[in-house]
Symmetry: C2
Amino acid sequence: MNPPVPQSLLDAPLSRERGPASLQRQLHDRLKQAILGARLAPGSRLPGSRALAEALSISRNTVTAVYDLLAAEGYLLPDRRGTRVAALTRPARSAPRHPVQRAASAASPALARRLAAIQSEPARADGEVALRPGVPALAQFPLAEWRRALDRAMGRAGSSALGYGDPLGEPALRHAIARHLSVARGVRCEAAQVVVTEGAMEALALCARLLTNPGDTAWVEDPGYRGARTAMHAADLHLVPMRVDAEGLCVPTSDWTGRPPRLIYTTPSHQYPSGAVMSAARRLELIANAQRHGAWIIEDDYDSEFRHAGDPIGAMQGLVAQAPVLYVGTFSKTMFPSLRLGFLVLPEALATRLQAPLGQLLRGGHRHEQLALGDFIESGAFGRHLGRMRRLYRERQVALREALSHHLRVPHAIDGGQGGMHLTVRLPSNDPDTRVAAAALRHGMAPAALSSFALQPAAEDNGLVLGYGNTSAERFEPLVRKLSQLARAAYTGVRSRSSGAGSG
Amino acid sequence: MNPPVPQSLLDAPLSRERGPASLQRQLHDRLKQAILGARLAPGSRLPGSRALAEALSISRNTVTAVYDLLAAEGYLLPDRRGTRVAALTRPARSAPRHPVQRAASAASPALARRLAAIQSEPARADGEVALRPGVPALAQFPLAEWRRALDRAMGRAGSSALGYGDPLGEPALRHAIARHLSVARGVRCEAAQVVVTEGAMEALALCARLLTNPGDTAWVEDPGYRGARTAMHAADLHLVPMRVDAEGLCVPTSDWTGRPPRLIYTTPSHQYPSGAVMSAARRLELIANAQRHGAWIIEDDYDSEFRHAGDPIGAMQGLVAQAPVLYVGTFSKTMFPSLRLGFLVLPEALATRLQAPLGQLLRGGHRHEQLALGDFIESGAFGRHLGRMRRLYRERQVALREALSHHLRVPHAIDGGQGGMHLTVRLPSNDPDTRVAAAALRHGMAPAALSSFALQPAAEDNGLVLGYGNTSAERFEPLVRKLSQLARAAYTGVRSRSSGAGSG
């Protein structure tokens, strides 16, 4: 009655080199593939474990374990007479119409529609490149001090901080952030209003998730921060670009009635990338209008700690009590990007209201890092680091301005520059910035094309955003000389083509 | 011509205790508040810096610095004749109709509609409580070994890993995950298909973000993982609950035509919380139908490393080539929850297609932790830890079964239990599990009510999900005795009430 050992199991010998666990895995895979490939017919009987073990010269325990597992997985059906092969749906050899095959083409309808908007954003430059905006002085970060802080936190908290913690973040860090913000930024908040996030990106995504519905209108600064656009595209918002002038975000009154927003994204202390400071008049008007029209303002205070002339400009959040302002900050510039810690300060009334949904959406985590950062802030190490970096960036900005004034031989104007870690250089509008930026990348530089910051680039949105945070001042002269060459080539090229076409 | 010093600036003396920086801040705030509060009228002139400095007995530099900052902020307008107060929109003293005030009430229309669905999920228990599902043995984690691995990674990578890295995760970790999955779980993948995420929650949120549009239908196991429901509610999907039986997710054929899904969420290797293993027949059928109807399957393999009888069940992902399966895993159970590292394995064709949008949506980060984890896996430390935990959880499960069989004095049945870190105990349907769970919490235990895992609880979805991962076996007897008391009280209470109503 014992069925014969199927030939397909005997065809190739099992490899014995890696021990019994490997033998078991090989036999399991061979049987499974034979069943899936119909070389063992549905309903057919398998030999008993003793017979198969003998045929393959392996231990009977191995065969029994494999039969048990295949039965648990549903490939085999044990019954009183032995073991049968289960009848299974044959996997489709090719299912040409499924999106997994079609997905390679951009037009695939089975992916999310929002991808079209998200991927229209320009890719960010990667790796160790000079003049890349948004990267702080990595080599100047006091890594040894941070390692000690982290090790101390792990030693103190030990395994008690291995579990899920407060989904809104470690209370000690939230307290430290609240204290720091009220002193350094004039933000009015208690620790209970602070939510620790995965950098500013998660804070922006949370704002959209908590406050908007798909299709709602969001106003964004134009030119403005590209990450904010991505976060809002990801939330299916309808983005309306708003121009920026010397007083920051500039809203025509008619837009409040014509296309009122649910959400307004702004960088009032140091507009990104123009560097404009939003005037008090504009701030108060924006808050008053938001209150009137039921809109929320996201104030992204991304690099306000680094102001080079005078004191830091105070935050909008603290300007008016009960203002509908959600304040977003990040430690990516003040500490280092791969720390991925940022925060969101909720208006007081929202903090209570959103406790429950935030408890579902967030999982806390990175508790040792959060405890170490809280300690770093409270011990003064953070403040000392900020002070050093403020001086360093001020020096670098002066040096970069100098290099530009001496070595950039195309007509240009420099924007902003009261703070931060970048300068925006506007170039003549017939000199395509994307071409200069692409050429620069081939020379190890990653300045960003100003036009790439705009949803609807105007003629004046042509230029380069030069990050000096992570590039030392000695390198500026040769780098700017090279940029000048590249810009002149593009400029001259365009000019001669334009004249050729009779319009120059 | 020098205007007098306004009385509002002289009313209270400035505090001199904290030095010149503090004096400057005090004066700045006092002037700003006087302007915002209209105690300094718009257009009025301020005294010269020398006069004000004398009146306040402070240095003239301090006054100049404050005037400069207020001018930069737009509160003051310097002109040839001196300094004027700017005309500003008065902030609304009360704007009673803005959502920030209304937000305290649950019905606020200015918050996202999806919050209603998200917060209907039951809150998770917090802190150090016994029998909480989903928490591994924290005290058994080799923290000292992990600290060394982390410190080694920081020493080796140094400041080069402080910047933004690969948005999809450190290549070394992605390779280690791909290798581990192919050996341990039969997953077919290359490192390029692996995306490192903030735990499984971000992986689920990404799947929704990349593959679905608002309003699309998603099938979820019922009862099933609550976090998956939250992630899908957050993405505005229409959730359809699908029952689970002894062979796992159970899909009536009519549903494929009646309410075809865009996304299917399943835990085939160890259904959460029933513990059922999806049979091979069901797996192949699900894949074939998904291929036919253009649906995506999310396979959440959350605790499959811990199988207590026989070998681990292989993943669905590797069953069929080109299957429309996105495989999700987490290190929250195998390492520790606050590490917040998980991963998503994309089908090969999608990995290329989604490179660009993922590059916009993700920022990498936690690079030292990722490098340390890659090293932990490759060095074998991870495998050794898994082996120890497998034995520990097996022992704990045996001990918990024993405690239940001796000390749980209500009619009950135990589900699943071929693996993982929890047992599901079904109780009589007239014995309300939420009441028992709430009572247990008051005694330092956090078993979850089985009914809370169901969108549409059936009569049999009544019971307790007991997590034994982080509770040592010696505690089981007294804990189960207490649970038995609580359940009996509820049971008897219900029975006597039912009999009183004549239906018992």
